[in-house]
């Protein structure tokens, strides 16, 4: 089944089995492993990608439905070495532990900020409610999204030093 996708601004051609999910094509055909497998049923958010501006569970989307759509994965958020503001903010707030769910959280947050530049805390919680984190960084992730949106005053020196 030959399919052509637009992934992170580049046209990619793949030939997966007919029932392949978008997640399996991203990870196994395109080598974009930053999108993680978590549950295969859209319940955890680890596999979130942006499709035509919306965060979706790539494990539930058949690959053939993604044809002719604009797909952005975690690998496509930064512009060269310049990180997306949400990525910068997650580092600044140390909003990660094992990091397995982080790709999905950042994707969900980036999609949120693209449609609502100044979401309140409830809107952030709602937008990320489908992204499960077992290590427990929810509070930090909320602060990171607020920081990226510029809706939270950040005191100088309030962040850990960054390691480059």
């Amino acid at each position: 089944m030959r399919l052509v996708f637009s992934v992170n601004g580049t046209k990619r051609e793949v030939d997966p089995p007919p029932a392949a999910s978008l997640l399996s094509v991203l990870r196994d055909d395109l080598g974009l492993t930053g999108t993680r497998f978590g549950c295969g049923s859209g319940q955890c958010g680890a596999c979130s990608v942006i499709v035509d501006g919306r965060a979706v569970a790539s494990c539930l989307m058949p690959a053939r439905q993604a044809v002719d759509r604009e797909i952005t994965t975690i690998e496509g958020l930064a512009t060269g070495e310049a990180l997306h503001p949400v990525q910068e903010a997650f580092i600044a707030e140390d909003a990660m532990q094992c990091g397995y769910c982080t790709s999905g959280m950042i994707i969900a947050a980036a999609a949120l900020l693209a449609r609502d530049t100044a979401p309140d805390e409830a809107a952030i919680r709602d937008a990320l409610a489908g992204n499960l984190c077992r290590c427990g960084v929810y509070g930090r992730a909320i602060r990171a999204v607020q920081r990226a949106a510029g809706t939270r005053a950040v005191a100088a020196g309030s962040s850990p030093a960054m390691y480059r």
Binding site: S24, I91, D94, C98, Y100, G130, R134, Y163, R164
Partner: protein, 658 residues
């Protein structure tokens, strides 16, 4: 210990440090880099830390018990300090300047007159080597540049860009995918495997039936799963060998029963906690490449050397020929002490003669992973007329808490962890009962400490109320350890414990001393008329001795509290006929962004003069009791059974409170 086991100066002057501990998100790679950078006086980004690669690191028993920093910090610091002194010695010889006039700066050594040589130049001819003295002098605190400085995770940029490679992201040449056919009952063996339909699935490379393992190797994951589902298998359920309850006395003071009998006030209560899932977001995964002369294992594991031996045994290779290369791993909180998924991938790889990636499905992860055992905790205490505890009797009933299985030598420190309260009580009897279970149980964050501390700290609260004493003052009457007193008093201060709260709000307190780390917490909850509990705020003061990375400590402790709040209010693994019936997140809700407290405020107040101790587990330990005590304060319901569901809370409310 020889320096070359721990520290290597690379030709470019950068530093590589080696440890057998594993990073699961605790931030130990970052803390170790800070420690080594500190003693070697180099920028932290010049330090690379190799963790758990069995071909490169010294033997380590395993990453558990929040012991990584406690065990490794002294060794890494000493080795790095010795390396620095050795480099100064070499510089002295090469520059012809007495060592006493030389000092380090940013990876170079020089004197005040501008003569300077780099670490790289000093190891060009011979790498550093030699035994590290146990009394190797360390840099004095005024020279510290990294210890105690908040630092973001060294892996942060890779994590936020998706470049970080977890086990399931390993891509090798000719990598195939494996899937396992699961028996209907744990321990059942396949007596007949009809693989005709499975072999017809496109992409199938091999159908494997080897010992207890039945599985399929295919080019793609979808194909392996479809083929495994297409196998027709007859299973035989073996008779389960019955085992006996192990009774382990943990403290037995003569006269406890008599002291209880003559106490002015006695109270008894029973607390229960269910079995819970480790519930990693990333299901278990391993990539194993078995060749005729050896094997390479890419996995998340708490025990790289134990895993090496298990894999070697499963495919009949000498253990020296197996290399375990731990990858970044989803947090598994103890679950990856079991070698299961790597052994499966190894057996499949051996038969397929290809490297094989096995990643469990979500249903497999819930139903076949080992889980935290349940616990029933019976406690009785007696107070004298002045309200002082004079006698304590505690019976802990639970199951084995380690992947290694029952072992009377370690039962007290594993299944019995924190069963003995941190309070001064003249007479106490504490007995652990490790009972058999058909379920697969194993290591989970803090082992039995979370269960025991829930019971002990809930019960102490009950005793305080029963004797009309303030719960905090009551505890302080029974605490001698000054560090425990300090965290208790500090958290009361920062939380304004005891202040008037709105209706249906309550403050609850709990504390613990866990593997040398002191933790005190106050939770503020709001209880709805329905019995639904919302955790609004948590304050925590933690003293883990000398702190390497305050930001890392805060993050770990916050996470422990958040995870523990989820256990406390939501989590219970369902069983049916001795099997786990839970197979998906909708059957096992955990806390989401909507449930997260408004704030979790962690004050890191480590005693700089005390050795560094761990923080991965201790933060999670007192939270259940802090929440339960807060629920009591908010609505009068004393809930002794976790999880604190709305039904239980509503039922516990005194008449008229609902």
């Amino acid at each position: 210990m020889n320096v070359e086991e721990r520290i290597r100066i690379e030709p470019d002057g950068s530093v590589t440090a080696f440890s057998g501990k594993i990073e699961f998100g605790q931030g130990i790679r970052t803390a170790f880099a800070q420690l080594v950078a500190n003693e070697l006086d180099v920028p932290v980004e010049r330090v690379r830390v190799v963790l758990g690669d069995t071909a490169q690191v010294p033997f380590d028993f395993g990453t558990f018990g929040s012991n990584s920093v406690a065990q490794e910090a002294p060794a890494l610091r000493l080795a790095a300090a010795f390396a620095r002194r050795s480099l100064i010695g070499r510089a002295s010889a090469q520059l012809g300047i007495p060592a006493a006039r030389l000092d380090t700066k940013g990876g170079t050594i020089g004197d005040g007159d501008g003569r300077r040589i780099s670490y790289a130049d000093l190891v060009r001819d011979a790498p550093l080597a030699g035994a590290v003295p146990e009394d190797e002098p360390l840099l004095p605190p005024e020279r510290w540049r990294h210890i105690g400085t908040p630092l973001a995770r060294v892996e942060a940029r890779d994590i936020v860009t998706g470049r970080a490679r977890y086990t399931a992201d390993v891509r090798l040449d000719r990598l195939a995918r494996g899937a396992i056919a699961r028996p209907p009952v744990r321990g059942a063996r396949a007596t007949r495997v009809d693989d005709r339909a499975a072999r017809a699935v496109p992409g199938v490379i091999a159908v494997v039936h080897d010992g207890d393992i039945v599985g399929v190797v295919a080019e793609r994951e979808e194909q392996a799963r479809a083929a495994a589902d297409a196998l027709e298998i007859d299973w035989e359920t073996p008779q389960r060998a019955s085992s006996e309850t192990q009774v382990v006395p943990m403290r037995e003071d003569a006269g406890t029963d008599a002291a209880l009998a003559s106490a002015a006030l006695t109270r008894s209560a029973t607390y229960t906690l269910p079995s819970i899932a480790s519930a990693s977001i990333g299901p278990s995964a391993a990539v194993v490449d078995v060749r005729s002369d050896g094997a390479t294992v890419y996995a998340g594991t708490h025990r790289p050397f134990g895993l090496r031996d298990a894999v070697a045994g499963s495919v009949g290779l000498p253990k020296e020929s197996v290399r375990v290369m731990p990858q970044m791993s989803s947090g598994t909180y103890g679950r990856s002490s079991a070698p299961d998924v790597s052994v499966e991938a190894a057996v499949l790889s051996k038969h397929a003669r290809r490297p094989v990636l096995v990643q469990w499905s979500r249903a497999e992860e819930f139903a076949h992973s080992p889980s935290r055992p349940e616990a029933v905790l019976e406690v009785t205490a007696g107070l004298d007329a002045s309200g002082h505890m004079v006698a304590w009797r505690y019976d802990e009933h639970t199951n084995v808490h380690t992947a290694a299985g029952p072992d009377p030598r370690v039962a007290a420190m594993t299944s019995g962890r924190n069963a003995v309260p941190p309070y001064t009580i003249p007479s106490a009897r504490v007995v652990l009962h490790v009972e058999p279970t058909p379920l697969r149980t194993a290591n989970f964050r803090s082992l039995a400490a979370a269960e025991n501390v829930f019971a002990i700290e809930s019960f102490v609260d009950e005793l305080a109320h029963a004797s009309q004493q303030d719960p905090l003052a009551f505890r302080l009457r029974h605490v001698d350890d000054p560090r425990l007193r300090r965290v208790i008093e500090r958290v009361a201060e920062v939380s304004a414990y005891g202040k008037k709260l709105p209706a249906r709000h309550g403050h609850g307190f709990a504390c613990t001393l866990y593997h040398g780390t002191y933790v005190a917490q106050v939770a503020e909850v709001e209880v709805a008329a329905s019995g639904a509990v919302r955790v609004l705020r948590v304050w925590c003061v933690v003293d883990p001795g000398l702190v390497i990375n305050p930001e890392g400590v805060r993050n770990q402790v916050e996470g422990g509290i958040q995870q523990s709040a989820s256990w406390t209010l939501l989590e219970e693994l369902r069983h049916k006929d001795g099997r786990v019936a839970t197979t998906s997140w909708d059957m096992y809700p955990i806390a989401t962004f909507r449930d997260a407290p408004e704030s979790i405020e962690v004050l890191v107040e480590g005693d700089r003069g005390a050795p560094s101790t761990g923080v991965g587990e201790p933060g999670a330990v007192p939270t259940s009791a802090a929440i339960a005590n807060a629920v009591f304060a908010a609505c009068g319901a004393r809930v002794r059974d976790v999880p604190l569901t709305p039904e239980r809370v509503r039922k516990g409310m005194p008449a008229g409170a609902g």
